[in-house]
Symmetry: C2
DNA sequence: CTGTTAGCGCATTCAA
DNA sequence: TTGAATGCGCTAACAG
């Protein structure tokens, strides 16, 4: 790494003595020769009940002084903010970044500023985040990502969130239904069910499942749904379940473990997320086991890249961006119901990784 | 979508009359029977110069009242915040989500809250975002993503950012070196250069380049570097250049256009980003042209998924997460230099999509 | 160590 | 319509 002076920096002025305080509304008012109130009304007041002559002078002064309204001060004075807090498990995971993209889109449409935080799937960290988020006094807190079962901090989280709601905030959970808040819940169970029956219909009879660790609700639901689907389709063979991390590398690891165990009695591997499926496929291929030919693989979520891998991955589509958008709209709605549970439907998408047998 | 009452909501209390204002520090002080100052010192003051007896009473009162410090009020009173503003082109793009992941990691480590915004690659939107970000009085503003050349709002953006710096803020640009601010700049040129010479060394002689639209700096640099590399390697055949959007679908579209044109005189296609390369590969394969066999493909960035596609994609690695981390560290550094340009080295990663000829 | 007081930047009520 | 005054929730002198 080399460090050089930036040639684009052409300011020939002598080094400034230090940070000058930004212009305040007071400065603008003085510059324009009007009162604080008039300046405030011209700049930020919604209904403009200011004479044009004054208004223009204020605007000119603001431009000249390069005025930027202090949002914190506005928040204190108004007693409300234009903020939405978004907490996700891992922003580099396409699942969450897609949801975030949707959420941010409609948030910004509504003039809201999004502050984001990452839990890394740690319940403690999540609690901590919600705590500081609360301090922001956001209008909305969005929690995306599976919460763990029986976590010690669960009650504290609920308490924190309830306090937030008690003071007029709105919370929306994405992807869970086990906390007493408005929820946008993926049909994990149904989606996996339908995937299982579809695959059984394709002639598959012997399955393995790559699941998340046992305390992750989303994983549990998907595994259960898949199992129910197999049952409903009359599949009676035992299904192998491998637990692993909720990541690509977790999937890879699970794939390796399946290989070690032997794949002879397995026709199809269902990974509870696409990212994990991708990892597993990589592991298989590395050992000369070709996905889609030697072994069928299916995932869940339909993240953008799975249509671009080879073979393209069969999966259950979750309308991720849409979910993000809806979560914010839901929270913004006049008819917001803090006890509502909205189920987001999923659809099975069959691709080359699961050919008919 | 169905809406039902959430069974987990077991609060049997009568409907609350309306949002109760959150407890203030004043409330806590009164509850604890101490002064405002003492409450403040016990709760938020860094150096605890408060008698334990008092402290405990304050803490208890805070817990009882479920007190949450109002960050906006703190910001106003202190005259500073713990915020960093991060602006990216598209958070669903792995390139940016990886950078964001890195940035958020060290930001949170430093106790900073990240507020994020998405430009959608619109310079106007970017300006607007920086304006409102300025209002937050963040400590840092991070701009990731290529700015367009000759944009009409360029000067306004510079002005806004300079005002921000003038009042003590720090701005770091990621991936550009054409704006007069501290810059963390990928070696786009060198990386593409090295890729070109490596590919020439593999025996490739006839190339096509899938580029972004002509005003995107990153694209220009990568195309130029690639061309220079070919020249240096003694390749004298003309290189076909196709311009398209900076997205997967843009790459797909460019791939289709190349197919229509005919691929007979092309041995290797270099897409200026991995995402675009993935799109192009999909287009090729759809037409029966097998990447890695019928045509070689290379990308740039080394986003996580490209090692999981088939054939795995040859690319130029940009340490994205690392870049995000370093950007924040750079901004936080005691020796911050607003004119510095730090070049982030890249490395060529050869994979199956570009076999030796 | 504690309490009183004066702001921080801004919105808004109330008179004028 | 405009301006003066009050208050938002909190921190930081300052004096006790």
């Amino acid at each position: 790494m080399s460090t050089v002076e930036n040639p684009a920096d052409k300011t020939g002025a002598p080094a400034p003595v230090g940070p000058a305080a930004p212009a305040t509304l007071h400065d603008v008012a003085r510059e324009a020769g009007v009162s604080l109130a008039t300046a405030s009304r011209s700049l930020n007041g919604s209904t403009r009940r200011v004479a044009d002559a004054y208004r223009d002078r204020v605007l000119a002064a603001a431009a000249k002084l390069d005025y930027s309204p202090n949002l914190s001060a506005q928040a204190v004075a108004r007693g409300s903010t234009m903020t939405v807090g978004l907490v996700v498990s891992d922003i580099a995971d396409p699942y969450f970044s897609s949801i975030a993209a949707g959420a941010m889109r409609v948030a910004e449409e509504s003039g809201l500023v999004v502050t984001m935080a990452v839990t890394g799937r740690s319940p403690e960290r999540e609690l901590e985040i919600v705590r500081t988020l609360r301090g922001q006094r956001p209008r909305i807190i969005l929690l995306a990502g599976s919460r763990s079962q029986g976590s010690a901090v669960r009650d504290a989280l609920i308490g924190e969130l309830q306090s937030f709601e008690a003071s007029g905030g709105r919370v929306v959970m994405i992807s869970q239904r086990d906390l007493p808040f408005a929820t946008l819940s993926l049909d994990n169970d149904d989606g996996a069910f339908e995937l299982a029956t579809t695959m059984a219909g394709f002639g598959y009879r012997r399955f393995a499942v790559i699941a998340g660790t046992a305390n992750v609700r989303t994983s549990l639901d998907r595994v259960d749904g898949f199992r129910r689907g197999l049952l409903a389709a009359g599949v009676d063979s035992e299904t192998v379940v491998v637990e692993t991390e909720f990541t690509r590398d977790g999937g890879y690891d699970a794939g390796r473990r399946l290989l070690e165990r032997g794949l002879d009695d397995i026709e199809l591997v269902f990974a509870v997320t696409d990212v994990m499926a991708l990892g597993a496929m990589a592991a298989f291929r590395e050992s000369g086991v070709e996905p889609g030919r030697d072994i069928a693989v299916a995932g869940f979520d339909d993240i953008p890249t799975v249509r671009d891998v080879t073979p393209a991955l069969t999966t259950v589509r979750a309308p991720l961006v849409d979910i993000g958008e809806r979560a914010v709209r839901l929270a913004l709605g006049d008819d917001f119901d803090r006890a509502s549970v909205d189920a987001v439907p999923t659809t099975v998408v069959v691709r080359a990784s699961t050919p008919r047998r």
